[in-house]
Subunit: 142 residues, 2 copies
């Protein structure tokens, strides 16, 4: 139940990215059942290559907690994180990653040996709204 609540908040973030023309990805970081950071993909809007939702959410969480050690946090992303964001998750020591839609081309969670070999908790949380939003975004582009 809680997971569905948080992935829904991530969806609302993704919607913001969608409205501004960015690939609709949203991210929420939770600690002790509280949202401590949320962000959405701003790569196109801000013209910065690293401004994926997960990077921006991790930055916000570090600022809020005044530490880069996010060990006890859970990261919710609407989409499977890419290589860069997977690396950022490793850097931040977040050990629980819940996401909704797989990213076959650029995703880096499902087949990542570091996650498999180090007891990361990785879960897929189904959410049809997220799936349809991404589908709609790529249909519009084509």
């Amino acid at each position: 139940m809680e997971n569905k609540k948080y992935i829904k908040i991530a969806y609302k973030e993704a919607l913001k990215a969608y409205k501004k023309g960015d690939i609709p990805v949203g991210c929420v970081i939770v600690k002790n059942d509280k949202v401590i950071a949320k962000a959405y993909n701003k790569k196109e809007k801000n013209k910065i290559a690293t401004y994926h939702a997960e990077i921006l959410a991790i930055n916000k969480a570090c600022k809020k907690l005044k530490t880069w050690h996010l060990d006890d946090c859970i990261l919710y992303s609407t989409m499977e994180p890419c290589i860069m964001c997977s690396g950022a998750i490793i850097q931040s020591r977040i050990k629980k990653i819940y996401y909704s839609v797989s990213n076959k081309n650029f995703g880096n969670i499902e087949n990542n040996k570091i996650f498999k070999n180090n007891k990361y908790e990785i879960k897929k949380i189904e959410n049809k709204q997220i799936f349809y939003l991404i589908q709609k975004f790529f249909q519009n582009i084509r």
Copy 2:
């Protein structure tokens, strides 16, 4: 010759990180033989998990050029970039990566299939000062 000049600028950035207690890594981004961004590792100083030299330099370069497409840029790093920073390089479309010291535990350039399969130009540029600086940093920690 030019490469040695730019890696030396990256070394000077790494020195700044060293003086502030961070792992001494510096990064320089060059376009058309001009330095357009330079940065050093600020992870400990700023307490932000993603504040590696390469990420900060890529962010600065995007801001300077007002685009996330850094296709024609060269990235110089004193150390082999990690997974996160390799992912950021991919996101930014930088295709030339020159670095000085290998990172056996956390480096993600030398064995990265994406770089191997996509004609990235990757070079090691020897610089003894960089090697000794990193050595000194880790000796001080132990």
